[in-house]
Structure formats: structure tokens, C-alpha cells
């Protein structure tokens, strides 16, 4: 078969172009494909809904620009939900660039809801030390956090004074791209202090979190951009993640087609031999 022989020697750049078109076209001409909400995403939403007004939620931005596409949409949607529910947001990060990226979402959402820095939300920036820092943080926040990300002493801010140990934290949401990240929060914080933890992870990390979900160590999970899109649906603010879901679905269909085609060609080759 000539077609199969030509496909065998297909220039890989043709595949790159097809993938690029499969991403670009649905963005310019949205298809509006449905986004189903899964139970792990709904569980985080429900837990936030149940928290009383004024409860403290730690949002740990444990990612960097390399994972921004997957985790910033989840940060935006989650922070928005917290402010709508009048919860107090305590942002930090185990990765240097995380709190800076998260701060953009924090400031934007805070301005929309008329929230005041230091009272309704705070950003204490990057906290180095991984596991050792988390253990200390739960025991006595003052041991590891003395100032916010701009250098203002933490004790001069009402929310800074209110959070002294893990007992003052009602929920931890970690936006996690690797190590240190969600596993450290589970093992060194949840196991020791019992604070409930939810997570949004990169797609690559998501399958590793399911054992923690089934053991109840994680309240819920937002896996990759799809998880962020689910949370956007839940909080009814269809933004960047939902906009990307059409492209995601079309590219997946294209890749499935490539895999099937590749296997057919392989079978043809074997028979020809």
C-alpha cells in the first residue's frame, strides 16, 4: 500500500503543524465542548463551602513559570472562591517563583472583592527548607516567617498575628509542580498536625495523588489544566482553563488517531515481512 509507505516516512514536522492547528483553531473558534466536574474537584469545592466566614486558608504556590499554564488557572479560580466565601487567604510558596505568580491572582481577585491586605489576605512569599520548614511552621509560625514578601514584619499585620501555628489554619491548598510540594504537605504537615489538605497538581503528578485521595489524606484533587477547568466551572468563572479545554480535547483526539494509525502501520509492516 503506497499510503502506508508514505506515512512511514512522513516528516515529523507535519505532525507538529497538525498539533499546532488543533490547538489554535479551537481557541479562535471555540467549540464549547462540555467540561465534566469530577468528584475530587467537587470535594475541594464542597470543603471550602463548608468553612465558616473568616476561616484561614493557606494557599501554597509550589510551582514556577514552567508549570504556570497548568497551575495559575487553578490558583485564580481557588482564590476567587475563597474571597467570595469571605475566607482569609494566607499565601506562601515552597518554590521561589510560586508566590510571585500567585500574587498576581491574589491582587486581582482581592481588588474585585474589596479585600484589604494584611486583614483579609497576606503573602509571606517563598519559604525555603521543605520538610523542616513545614514541621516548624505547624509548631510555631514565628520560627520560619518573620516578614511578608515585601519585608513588612508579620506581627504588624492582623492576619500575620492571627496565624501562630497549624491550629490557626483551617485548610491548606497546595498548587504543586513537584518536590517540595503536595507530598511534603501531606507527610510533614497533615500527618503531624491533621490540617486538611487539597491540591492542584500538574497533569504529570496527578496519578500519584490518587492513593492519598483514597486514604483520605487529601480532601480533593485538581489534576492539570482539566482540574483547573473543573474548578472554574464550579465557581462559575469560565476563564483560561475552560478556554483551553476545546484545544485539549481536539489534540487528544488527534493523538489517539496517530496512535491507531501507527499501530495499523506496524501491523502492515509485520505482515509485509
Amino acid at each position: 500500500m503506497k499510503l502506508f509507505e508514505r506515512l512511514q516516512t512522513l516528516d515529523r514536522r507535519v505532525i507538529f503543524i497538525l498539533v499546532a492547528l488543533a490547538v489554535i483553531i479551537p481557541m479562535i473558534v471555540p467549540l464549547g465542548l462540555p467540561v465534566d466536574v469530577t468528584k475530587p474537584a467537587k470535594d475541594i469545592f464542597d470543603r471550602i463551602e463548608k468553612l465558616p466566614e473568616g476561616a484561614v486558608v493557606v494557599v501554597s504556590c509550589d510551582y514556577d513559570p514552567g508549570s504556570e499554564a497548568e497551575l495559575t488557572p487553578a490558583t485564580v479560580a481557588f482564590v476567587e472562591h475563597c474571597f467570595r466565601r469571605n475566607l482569609r487567604v494566607y499565601m506562601m510558596g515552597l518554590w521561589p517563583a510560586g508566590p510571585e505568580l500567585g500574587n498576581l491572582a491574589l491582587q486581582e481577585s482581592a481588588a474585585r472583592h474589596g479585600k484589604e491586605y494584611g486583614i483579609d489576605y497576606i503573602n509571606v512569599g517563598y519559604r525555603p527548607g521543605g520538610p523542616v520548614m513545614l514541621v516548624s511552621l505547624g509548631r510555631n509560625v514565628g520560627d520560619v516567617i518573620r516578614a511578608d514578601y515585601t519585608g513588612v514584619p508579620i506581627d504588624s499585620l492582623p492576619l500575620g498575628r492571627a496565624v501562630k501555628s497549624a491550629r490557626d489554619i483551617d485548610f491548606v491548598m497546595t498548587l504543586s509542580a513537584g518536590d517540595p510540594g503536595v507530598q511534603h504537605w501531606i507527610i510533614y504537615f497533615n500527618a503531624r498536625y491533621g490540617t486538611p489538605i487539597g491540591t492542584a497538581t500538574t497533569g504529570i503528578m496527578a496519578p500519584q495523588q490518587y492513593p492519598y485521595l483514597s486514604s483520605g489524606q487529601l480532601v480533593g484533587l485538581l489534576g492539570g489544566m482539566k482540574g483547573a477547568a473543573e474548578y472554574e466551572m464550579l465557581v462559575d468563572m469560565q476563564a483560561r482553563a475552560v478556554a483551553g479545554m476545546d484545544s485539549q480535547s481536539i489534540v487528544h483526539l488527534l493523538l489517539v488517531a496517530f496512535i491507531i494509525m501507527g499501530n495499523i502501520i506496524l501491523l502492515y509492516q509485520r505482515r509485509a515481512k
Binding site: V23, P96, Y188, S214, Q248, H252, L255
Partner: protein, 205 residues
């Protein structure tokens, strides 16, 4: 104005990196070298302001706390192999680091990972609905058969071999799920970049 310049630089560097998909070229090389240089500078600043200065130099120099000379001495011992006569000194910082890490990791891993994960496999097989029963059986057999696969003290024959084969199947399903998620993640990154180009740069969407 500054934002616009930043967006233009980011957009052009994105295109420069993607130009590699066509073939290796000087524009890609320039973008790659800029990335390496900026990363090195960025990490140097991060390490200085978040580790070295607040944890060592600030208390030592600004507050005159000479106790911090002990970690300085231990840290310097890491360079001991450079002088063969005192190379044995490296054992001190390595032993210290291993001791602290083991104390922290072993205790917390047992408490925070092994016990809860083990507990999560103690699932009821009676008094549950059919869907939950199938799910519980899958988890129980999945854990047992995968563990059997990694039991190498006896040949995988008979019942043991059967379970080991089942373990392989469970692992294959897990690898498939991981691969699927990996594809999704990589495409998400591409979507993120193209969204940036079309939305922030070209204002097409």
C-alpha cells in the same frame, strides 16, 4: 509600556524556542543561552537572599553570633576532598546531613505515608454495594499482586507466578494512566503558550 516590552520579549523568545521544531538554528541557540544565563543568575540571587544571608551571614556578621561559625566549619569540610591529606573530613558533614535527614524522613514517612496507605487497603468486602465491592477488590488484589511481583526470593511459578502476572497488568494500567496524564500535561503547556501568544501578545482572543 514596561508590560508591553516584557510581553514582546516573552513572545519573541517563545517563537525562538519553538523554531527548533523546524530545525536547530542560531535564533534557538540565542534563546537557549539566554535561558541558561538568566536561570543561573536567578538561582544565585535566590540562594543568597533565602539561604546564605538570612541563615548564616546575617546572624554571624550583623548580630555577631559566633555560634554560626560551627555550621561554617562543617560546611567548609565539604570541600575537604580537594586536599587529599584531609579528605576524610568530608565524613563529618555527610554523617551530620544523613543523620538529620534519616531522623526526619523515616519517622514522618512511616507516620505520614506507610501507615495511612496500609490502612487504606483494609477495605470492607461485606455490607457494601456491588460497585464499591468491585472497587475494593481491585484495590486489594492490585496491592497484593504488585507486591508479589516485587518478591524475588522465590521463582514466579504457580500461584505466585499468577499473582505476579496480575501485578504486571495492574502496573501496566498505572503506567498507561501516567502516560495519558503526561500527554495531557505537555499539551496543556503548549496551550498555555499559544494562549499567551494569541491573547496577551496578538490580542486575537
Amino acid at each position: 509600556m514596561l508590560t508591553s516590552i516584557g510581553i514582546w520579549i516573552a513572545a519573541l523568545l517563545t517563537l525562538a524556542i519553538y523554531s527548533f521544531l523546524y530545525k536547530d538554528n542560531p535564533v534557538y541557540k540565542i534563546a537557549e543561552n539566554i535561558f541558561v544565563g538568566v536561570s543561573a543568575g536567578y538561582w544565585a540571587v535566590v540562594l543568597w537572599f533565602n539561604y546564605a544571608w538570612p541563615n548564616l551571614f546575617e546572624p554571624l556578621i550583623m548580630r555577631g553570633n559566633i555560634v554560626y561559625l560551627i555550621p561554617v566549619a562543617i560546611g567548609l569540610m565539604m570541600f575537604a576532598p580537594l586536599i587529599p591529606r584531609i579528605s576524610w573530613l568530608i565524613r563529618i558533614p555527610l554523617t551530620f546531613t544523613m543523620g538529620v535527614a534519616m531522623a526526619l524522613v523515616i519517622l514522618q514517612r512511616i507516620q505520614g505515608e506507610i501507615f495511612p496507605q496500609l490502612q487504606a487497603t483494609f477495605l470492607p468486602l461485606r455490607g457494601v454495594g456491588p460497585v464499591e465491592l468491585i472497587s475494593n477488590l481491585l484495590i486489594i488484589f492490585g496491592v497484593i499482586s504488585t507486591l508479589v511481583y516485587f518478591y524475588f526470593s522465590r521463582a514466579h511459578k504457580g500461584v505466585l507466578g499468577l499473582f505476579a502476572k496480575l501485578g504486571i497488568w495492574f502496573m501496566m494500567v498505572a503506567f498507561g494512566a501516567s502516560f495519558g496524564y503526561t500527554v495531557m500535561a505537555r499539551i496543556s503547556l503548549l496551550i498555555g503558550r499559544i494562549y499567551f501568544l494569541l491573547h496577551n501578545w496578538l490580542h486575537l482572543i
